[in-house]
């Protein structure tokens, strides 16, 4: 496929990287010469320097012959202009990133400027955070198979019946336990869940299960009715406001929602936009402010400022004050080593969430979704299998998958269009149009990539 990516920021870069690995022909456009140079050096793509909102530059990128245009510059206006021009010049399919929810949610508008899909990083990230807030014990979630299947990260609580159970006995002892446990993280070590492993309290486990089963699962992993009653959000950023708005609207009562913002004007804007939240003007790095406003009582603390370093500082300070659950937003990977310390808290990277969302929207052969799992580099991926791929028609046991990976589930569409999601076993044969959801530890990621992108050879 010929793909033109407009905007070489973090999202653009990651997209270009992922898609180029899938053997697509990528052209990337940006007006920043440094970014273009960096991409030119590192990726096997065509990089063009210039203003993307100009038809001349777009023609140079042969946008008319593109099968897909992805507009991910920083500005909504530019992305819309690119979409309009690309449609006019003959691009087949267009995906745009829009931060303004009024623009991104309107299907008619989307048709008007010619896009087939919009991705709103604020909305998708806020949705993810919202699910974490409302599910005590969970620390990570990502969706696969069109949102029908979720990969949840859960902490096994102290009173959980799962404590001390060997995995292969799990189905015998708890026949109502849904889902498939794919990985166990313990003491900074991560391993794929195998039959002989046991579960212990305070383990972080990853489990794949259909969306509607979550309720049943929660009883087992987190039986005590811990309630999230007080939520504190630092940073009235666009994301911070969106999360606050969602918490306000959710019928599950969060009794006290506090938004802390250090800029007076932004705090006032937040107070205008939110209805129930208490907006405070101040900074969580100020200890007297924290104690006076009882911020350390929070059940959940979210640092959603736009600056990674600030989020890190906030989270560390608040954690020291005794808040158990902390979530930070981090756009770049510079602080990964810090987050890799165990039990630091949850990290949400809006850029990665966006990349994953855009990949899901594209969905044509190869990788459909990628989710960073934890901070240690593990990934969950969803691949769509086509006739031309080497894995097509093979049994799973014949695939020679690396040790550190596991096929979690397969989503299969039958002739009548019915969709079935099931847990894969060794005998399962992979068919064309299947979606395969794989969980891989860092060591296995590149190997998996190879297995699933290998073409069917002549010598097979």
């Amino acid at each position: 496929m010929r793909i033109v990516v407009v905007g070489a920021g973090v999202v653009g870069f990651h997209l270009a990287e992922k898609l180029s690995d899938d053997h697509h022909k990528i052209t990337i456009i940006d007006s920043n010469s440094e970014l273009i140079q960096r991409i030119d050096e590192r990726l096997n793509v065509q990089a063009i320097l210039g203003n993307a909102a100009s038809p001349r530059v777009l023609r140079k990128a042969k946008i008319g012959a593109a099968d897909l245009v992805i507009a991910v510059t920083d500005r909504d206006e530019t992305n819309i202009t690119v979409s309009l021009l690309a449609k006019h010049l003959g691009a087949k399919k267009i995906v745009v990133r829009l931060r303004n929810a009024e623009l991104s949610a309107d299907k008619e508008l989307m048709e008007l400027y010619g896009a087939q899909a919009t991705v709103n990083p604020v909305t998708v990230t806020a949705e993810k955070i919202q699910r974490l807030i409302h599910n005590p014990g969970s620390f990570d979630v990502s969706s696969f198979a069109d949102g029908k299947l979720d990969l949840w990260g859960y902490e096994i609580s102290k009173g959980s019946p799962l404590d001390g159970v060997i995995l292969k006995d799990l189905k015998k002892r708890f026949d109502k336990l849904p889902g498939l446990i794919v990985a166990i993280f313990r003491d900074g070590e991560q391993s794929i869940a195998r039959g002989d492993d046991d579960l212990r309290a305070e383990d972080h486990i990853y489990v794949l299960m259909p969306e509607e089963e979550l309720k049943n699962f929660r009883k087992f992993v987190h039986p005590e009715s811990e309630r999230v009653e007080k939520v504190v959000i630092a940073g009235a950023t666009r994301l911070g406001l969106e999360v606050a708005r969602r918490v306000e609207q959710n019928p599950q009562k969060v009794r006290s929602l506090i938004v802390v913002e250090k800029d007076r004007a932004r705090a006032e804007k937040a107070a205008e936009e939110l209805n129930k939240a208490l907006v405070l003007h101040g900074s969580v790095t100020d200890t007297s402010f924290v104690s006076e406003n009882e911020i350390a009582d929070a059940d959940y603390f979210l640092s959603l400022e736009s600056d990674d370093a600030e989020n890190l500082t906030n989270a560390m300070l608040i954690k020291k004050q005794g808040v158990r659950r902390v979530l930070v937003r981090s756009e770049n990977d510079q602080f990964l080593p810090v987050f890799q310390q165990t039990n630091f808290g949850e990290v949400v990277n809006p850029r990665r969430v966006t990349v994953s969302d855009i990949l899901r929207v594209i969905r044509r052969g190869g990788v459909v979704a990628v989710s960073q799992v934890g901070a240690l580099g593990a990934e969950a991926r969803e691949y769509e299998v086509t006739e031309s791929q080497a894995v097509c028609g093979k049994k799973i046991s014949d695939l020679n998958l690396p040790q550190d990976s596991i096929i979690g589930a397969i989503r299969r569409t039958d002739e009548n269009g019915g969709v079935e999601i099931f847990t894969a076993v060794g005998d399962t044969k992979i068919l064309a149009d299947d979606h395969v959801i794989i969980f891989a530890l860092p060591a296995a990621v590149s190997e998996i990539e190879k297995v699933f992108t290998r073409r069917r050879g002549f010598l097979r």
Binding site: E268, A271, L280, N293
Partner: protein, 518 residues
């Protein structure tokens, strides 16, 4: 100040007024009361001549209207229109012989107050009674606004006048063009009036139906009967009038949106909800108190006794509606109700109806803003770092609007307190007997009030005129009238009616030298 353009508009308004005066003349002719002909004909002639002179001399300056001219016109015109409107009362043999009294009565009409100096209303001829109610109807939606609607001659000056005349802290236009907005508002006003006339007609006949509808929708309160609505002694009439008084207290822009644009949800906005909520609560509360008083008559000092719960609710709901809306019809002597009810009613009078309606008082939206502001102050004491925005209908109330509202309330209160002081001085029995004017002591004795009640009277009269309600407490209570107030007091009350109706500022600008400087 462009005095010539000022006179041009005033002339225009007088021409319109002289045209409108043909209506009561027609009523006189229809009812066969020939003795009114000379009064009406000469009034029309005088008004028309003066108007025509003003108009023709300054014709070319009509479009030169800026904000200050607009404000001055709105303030001056009510005073002037009331003067020319008073002529029929003064000139008619069955009317009001004292010019000040006639002026008071007409001002009370055009400001939709409903305070009367007539001890016996029923002696007035039908034409005058009709004119009396019509002045209220004209004043309700604003005479200037009517002129804007029917004579769109003013260009952009109309926008300023619209702003000066419509009550409330923020002014919303229905349509981009002010003349069209004025037309829609007046059309809606007329529609409601016709509706009420049709509902009242079967019960009380066309003449009373029309006159009472005119003073209901304008929340004026002039009646053709001495006993006001109580004269009809009909629960049906009470109910119809109650509903229309409440309707007239709600923002007409909301009515328009509800009826013609089907915006049902936005009808019950924060202000409207608060108004309806307070009205219903007060009705139930007073019903409960009256029921209690009725059940244990021996324990209470209050002579007003009603038979049963239904009767209590009927009088309570009517009195709440009439005082909250600033209408001023009466069906019961609320001045002799238990004190808790009197105080509650006084508070309702102060608050008044919604912005953009025909009511008086400080308006619900201002009161709401004040409450929200005070709550925020309290919250900020406890949490100094909190940032709290004042919201109405989910929208932020802008800082300037808040300070404007607070400024208005402070000024209103100051004006009120000063006027009570001045009024109690004027009506002081000792002082009055020295000055040799009408003796309120004598008057109080006649009305059965206590001698030291003059402070209550001063309070009641000031409140009832500044809020454009009409009936007050004490010597000007629901069963009394303003006839025995000394002349100086009447002048003060006339001014208060004007200040209340135009929300102070439009009147005060007239007295500021700053306004008249070139």
């Amino acid at each position: 100040m462009r005095v010539r353009s000022l006179f041009a508009i005033l002339g225009l308004l007088l021409l319109v007024l002289s045209g409108i005066m043909l209506i009561p003349l027609g009523v006189s002719w229809f009812m066969g009361s020939t003795e009114d002909y000379p009064a009406f004909l000469s009034s029309i002639a005088i008004t028309f001549t003066v108007g025509a002179v003003f108009w023709i001399l300054n014709l070319n300056n009509l479009k030169d209207i800026r904000v200050r001219e607009a404000f001055t016109v709105v303030g001056l015109s009510r005073g002037m229109v009331s003067f020319f409107g008073a002529l029929p009362f003064w000139l008619s043999p069955s009317g009001i012989p004292n010019l000040l009294d006639a002026y008071f009565e007409t001002m009370s009409g055009f400001t939709t107050t409903g305070a009367t100096i007539l001890k016996d209303v029923e002696v007035l001829s039908p034409g005058l009674l009709f004119w009396r109610s019509l002045t209220q109807w004209l004043g309700g939606m604003g005479f200037v606004l009517l002129t804007l609607a029917v004579m769109p001659l003013l260009g952009s000056g109309g926008v300023h006048m619209y702003r000066a005349e419509i009550p409330g802290p923020t002014k919303e236009k229905l349509t981009p063009r002010v003349t069209q907005t004025a037309l829609y508002l007046w059309g809606l006003y007329l529609l409601f009036t016709v509706l009420e006339i049709l509902m009242l007609m079967p019960a009380i006949g066309w003449f009373d139906a029309i006159t009472h509808s005119l003073s209901t929708l304008s929340t004026g309160g002039f009646s053709t009967k001495n006993a006001s609505i109580a004269a009809f002694d009909s629960a049906y009439v009470d109910a119809v009038v109650t509903v229309f008084m409440l309707l007239a207290s709600i923002n007409f822009v909301l009515h328009y949106r509800f009826l013609f644009q089907f915006q049902t949800k936005s009808f019950f906005d924060g202000e409207c909800r608060f108004f309806i909520g307070v009205a219903l609560t007060s009705m139930l509360f007073i019903t409960a108190v009256l029921t209690f008083v009725t059940a244990y008559p021996a324990k209470s000092q209050h002579p007003e006794i009603y038979s049963g719960l239904g009767e209590c609710f009927r009088v309570a709901s009517f009195q709440v509606a009439t005082l909250f809306s600033g209408c001023g019809f009466v069906t019961a002597d609320f001045d002799h109700w238990p004190n808790i009810c009197r105080v509650l009613l006084a508070v309702l009078m102060m608050i008044g109806g919604c912005a953009g309606s025909t009511t008086g008082g400080v308006k619900v939206v201002r009161f709401l803003t004040l409450m929200k502001f005070s709550l925020r102050e309290i919250a900020l004491l406890i949490r100094p770092q909190a940032v709290i925005s004042l919201k109405l209908n989910g929208n932020n109330i802008e800082r300037e609007v808040v300070s404007r509202v607070l400024g208005f309330l402070a000024l209103w209160l100051l004006l009120f307190l000063l006027s009570v002081a001045l009024m109690s001085f004027i009506t002081d029995p000792g002082w009055s007997s020295v000055s040799g004017s009408l003796d309120p002591v004598e008057a109080s004795k006649v009305s059965g009030a206590q001698e030291d009640d003059h402070l209550v009277t001063a309070f009641g009269a000031t409140l009832a005129t500044l809020t454009n309600v009409g009936p007050g407490f004490g010597g000007v209570g629901p069963m009394e009238n303003y006839a025995d107030i000394p002349a100086a007091g009447k002048v003060l009350l006339i001014l208060l009616m004007l200040l209340g109706r135009l929300e102070i500022y439009a009147v005060l600008v007239i007295f500021l030298p700053f306004t008249w400087r070139r």
